[in-house]
Symmetry: C2
Subunit: 368 residues, 2 copies
């Protein structure tokens, strides 16, 4: 085993730089072919160093999910930032600070938020109407034309708000299943936003852009054309859930948590690792009847190998991970060994781990 | 509203000092009545400042869940620390450092781990055999006498390992339901450990202590006697799940996350808050058919009030929380208001939030 693995003493978030850069290259190319602006979501990696890996592919506009993240990337020379979250007007002071320094995009979905913004803003910002195109998390429902028109009109009347476009996150592609269904959601989302755009234009509103972007659709659908902007985030590392969704192969997953083995229970096909909710997050996806918190790989040379067939992290408490380890793999693990867990959800894993170690030995920090 | 609430701009972990101290007082008193050492688990609060609140109740021995946490509390003058996690032999260097400075307790559950420890340790440590008394997460199964005897014997043969006792975490009291069932699990756990202790004594092993402790049993069962040590942790703040389990009333919950309201969807009885998985953790408990990520309270004066009946955090993504808000409460919330969420699981919420604000205005840090 490489000296890198030998040096690891406790749960450590590893990233594979080559895979990450290849994931970025591939998505930038897809956006180019679709004729769309690539505005990747940086909430997945949250790292100024990894942000730099996007610049060679012409990326200059980014998406973040919080004001704090916008401040962090603004401090690292990003000058065009959309905060893809319904604006939190309690942070208007920080928003005003940002608006002085970067080209800032904000999301609104109510007249109340527009009015409060208008009262407090001191600099100009772009405004995107957050649209619910079927995901039902939040946003103005795509069929509520009157509501969308009222919010758009309120934006038009606010001197520092520049109405830019319609933005959605079609998060219902997660777990949608077949490629056909994912592409159907993508086409449907685009159509709904386009219909709304036309209906608003018919009321005399200016031309609006359309911004979409979720990793399952952006990874899987061959044709992403017909939108102005793509904002996927998770693709930079992918994760076990995206493997399950066929957004990628396991070979494309660029992040894994190295965890020491602390107990073995072969009589019930289990192993216990030092690696729990505080290292992987408590997120999971359903794998048949079971909750899967991650896939289990072994170090091989200076990288991690293929997931052990049938093995997975089947339970997590604060510091413990319980691995379901089929008997065929039993001989591969001893107390004190490391396993590399491909997390269920890489965004939240990065959030809890706060720091990476690249396979070539560099420590990479995040905003946290 | 108090100036404290007015000053909050983004998700903020609040604690109520009085409630916390009362929770500590009550549990210390229960341990005293049971004739057991109170060795509270500090993994819940993870804070040197909050640790000090235990000292007036005679607490001098503590439990932690990682080597890093042990190093942190050792640096804050705690001198008797058990790391209640199967020993991670990859951290033996830090363990040796700790063993020089504090009375250190470690958990083992295999001969392999004992041998590796024996090869690497440079200072004396207490050893607890980690027993699975029915929880089935990890540990030596209570009926595997031969296995327990082999591990105990290996400990006896290692000069720097002092065999101290049998330790378990009966985590299956979580969600056990009735008071009767919780107390039955407590009694059964005690009996299983006592039986194993006697069987080991019959083989000539020295007298062993018994250490137990989970918040549901320690809070609910009137009689905790018959053990040497109690190690509950969550009781310091409790949380929504413990309210659900009847370990406490909502009035005893001492931690809440203040979150700004960013969107309202009255047509489907939903509100959206800035407060997601990165603030509350992705942990939940089942409330009937639904996943509950937290209960929803409103600020009242300088504290939070009772949970809104029928309301709960029903969904979480990275930064968003979706609240199910029955129509009767609709008029109580506006965009830009704060809600106070009693988290599903306070330990993980503390872990992700990293810092508290006490209701009397003090910023309280953790090890993170």
């Amino acid at each position: 085993l490489s000296i890198l693995f030998e040096s690891i003493r406790k749960p450590t978030l590893l990233i594979d730089r080559e895979k990450t850069q290849e994931n970025i290259r591939r998505m930038a190319e897809k956006a180019r072919l679709a004729g769309a602006r690539f505005r990747p979501h940086f909430k997945t990696h949250q790292s100024a160093q990894i942000g730099e890996w996007f610049r060679p592919y012409g990326v200059s506009a980014i998406t973040v999910s919080s004001v704090d993240m916008a401040l962090y990337f603004a401090a690292h020379d990003w000058r065009d930032i959309t905060i893809a979250f319904p604006v939190n007007i309690r942070q208007v002071q920080e928003i005003n600070d940002l608006a002085q320094r970067v080209h800032l995009g904000l999301l609104v979905e109510s007249v109340a938020a527009v009015r409060r913004l208008n009262e407090c803003l001191t600099g100009a910002v772009d405004i995107w109407l957050k649209i619910d195109a079927g995901n039902r998390r939040t946003g103005i429902h795509w069929e509520r034309l009157e509501e969308a028109a009222d919010v758009a009109q309120a934006v038009m009347e606010a001197p520092l708000l520049r109405l830019r476009g319609l933005l959605t996150h079609a998060g219902h592609t997660y777990g949608a299943g077949s490629l056909e269904r994912v592409c159907q959601i993508y086409a449907e989302t685009r159509q709904r936003l386009d219909d709304l755009r036309r209906a608003l234009a018919a009321r005399g509103l200016p031309p609006l852009e359309i911004s979409v972007g979720d990793t399952p659709a952006c990874s899987r659908c061959p044709d992403l054309s017909g939108v102005d902007e793509l904002r996927p985030g998770n693709f930079v590392f992918f994760d076990a859930e995206q493997v399950e969704f066929n957004s990628c192969g396991w070979e494309d997953v660029a992040a894994a948590v190295a965890c020491p083995v602390v107990a073995l229970h072969p009589e019930r096909e289990k192993a216990v690792i030092y690696g729990g909710a505080i290292h992987l997050s408590k997120d999971f996806y359903q794998r048949g009847e079971q909750r899967c918190y991650g896939l289990v790989c072994l170090p091989e040379g200076s990288r991690w190998g293929a997931p052990l067939e049938g093995a997975m992290v089947s339970g997590l408490s604060q510091e413990h991970g319980v691995i379901h380890l089929p008997a065929a793999h039993r001989h591969k693990l001893n107390i004190g060994d490391l396993v590399c867990v491909l997390p269920a959800h890489s965004c939240l894993t990065v959030q809890v781990m706060k720091e990476y170690l690249s396979l070539d030995g560099e420590t990479i920090t995040t905003l946290n």
